[in-house]
Symmetry: C2
Subunit: 216 residues, 2 copies
């Protein structure tokens, strides 16, 4: 016996792993998932291509973990806002606004995280985190209903719609092709109030469908 993994090595290993994850973030923020190849990530992390595979089983796993890292952080931020004090409505508005604002700041990265096509593993992770955000909103909607601030509704469905409105409202403007967004503030406000009203408005007696069965 002449080798033992010392504390120091352990740290270096961990550190290298972290560096690789950070590199993914950096590369994706720059060239998106599309252009993010393993070799580039390795270079950005200052390691050889093969090293990446000593730390992660595959590209998909690596990228999914990188996304998860980022997304979890955002979830935490939003959840913290949601946990603040105040009415459900104001907390919901704040949560939505914080999400939107942060996304607008890190345009390219946000777009990649939310919408850019990527490996299946990444998609899987996205679904999980979409739901995580959705859960936060769902909790707020339930609070609001409990307090009588919001009308009764399917919290789960509303939360999903809310999440959708939020990301779609953002996606167009965030897309790399779209030019500079001139009035960030207005955009964020529009999205926020859309979401708020959807959830907090008095129940609307949706007119029944008079259109016949639409065929074809």
């Amino acid at each position: 016996m002449a080798y033992r993994r010392t504390e120091r090595v352990e740290e270096q290993l961990q550190d290298k792993r972290d560096r690789i994850l950070q590199a993914v973030r950096a590369v994706v923020a720059e060239v998106g998932f599309r252009g993010a190849q393993v070799a580039l990530v390795a270079e950005a992390a200052g390691v050889a291509t093969g090293t990446v595979y000593r730390h992660f089983p595959s590209k998909g796993d690596l990228f999914a973990e990188a996304l998860a890292l980022n997304a979890q952080h955002e979830v935490d931020v939003v959840a913290a806002v949601a946990r603040a004090e105040g009415s459900a409505a104001s907390r919901l508005a704040d949560a939505v606004r914080v999400f939107a604002r942060r996304a607008v700041r890190a345009r390219r990265l946000a777009w990649a995280m939310i919408a850019e096509p990527a490996e299946p593993e990444v998609d899987a992770a996205r679904i999980i985190y979409r739901r995580a955000f959705s859960d936060v909103f769902e909790g707020l909607i339930r609070d609001g209903m409990a307090e009588g601030e919001f009308p009764l509704q399917s919290a789960a469905a509303s939360a999903a719609c809310l999440m959708g409105a939020l990301s779609e409202g953002l996606i167009g403007p965030l897309a790399p092709e779209a030019g500079d967004l001139p009035n960030t503030r207005a955009l964020v406000d529009a999205i926020t109030s859309f979401c708020l009203q959807a959830v907090s408005a008095r129940p609307f007696a949706a007119p029944s469908l008079r259109v016949m069965e639409t065929p074809t």
Copy 2:
């Protein structure tokens, strides 16, 4: 000169082209974009792989055109509903409902069309049609504002959010993994009223953000 493209040949050609496009639809409806490879499509269309390339320059183009065909049809259906008579609110509700209902019917296909990862050309087409739907909704929102049915709002932003709420509200349930959706009706209703209220409710004075600048 001993050959001239006759009427009949012309038709056969056109017909073959159509068959290929239909085959894409069928294959995608079955195995999604992920599993849809050119060879499969060719087989489904009853032609050789190479033939596909006599009609379309590349897989991406073919698939994008197939999506466009489908999407355009849906846009037409929704636009027709939007053009019916009645208040803006009821037309909007109907439009949303029809979209959702039809999507729920053709689960796998709808999911593929709306959300499944695919070639860049397909994504490009998606963006175009997303906007097409969004435009229909935007028109209705404007109508509603003009009539005083809806409060003043950014029609473009609301329409985008609406589109997002609609697709996201659907996507989860439509995803291939998700089991059977038991109460289709309830889902469609929940989505519809979410959208309606978002757009038609009295303006909500969104509480201002008391949370400090969230760092990191």
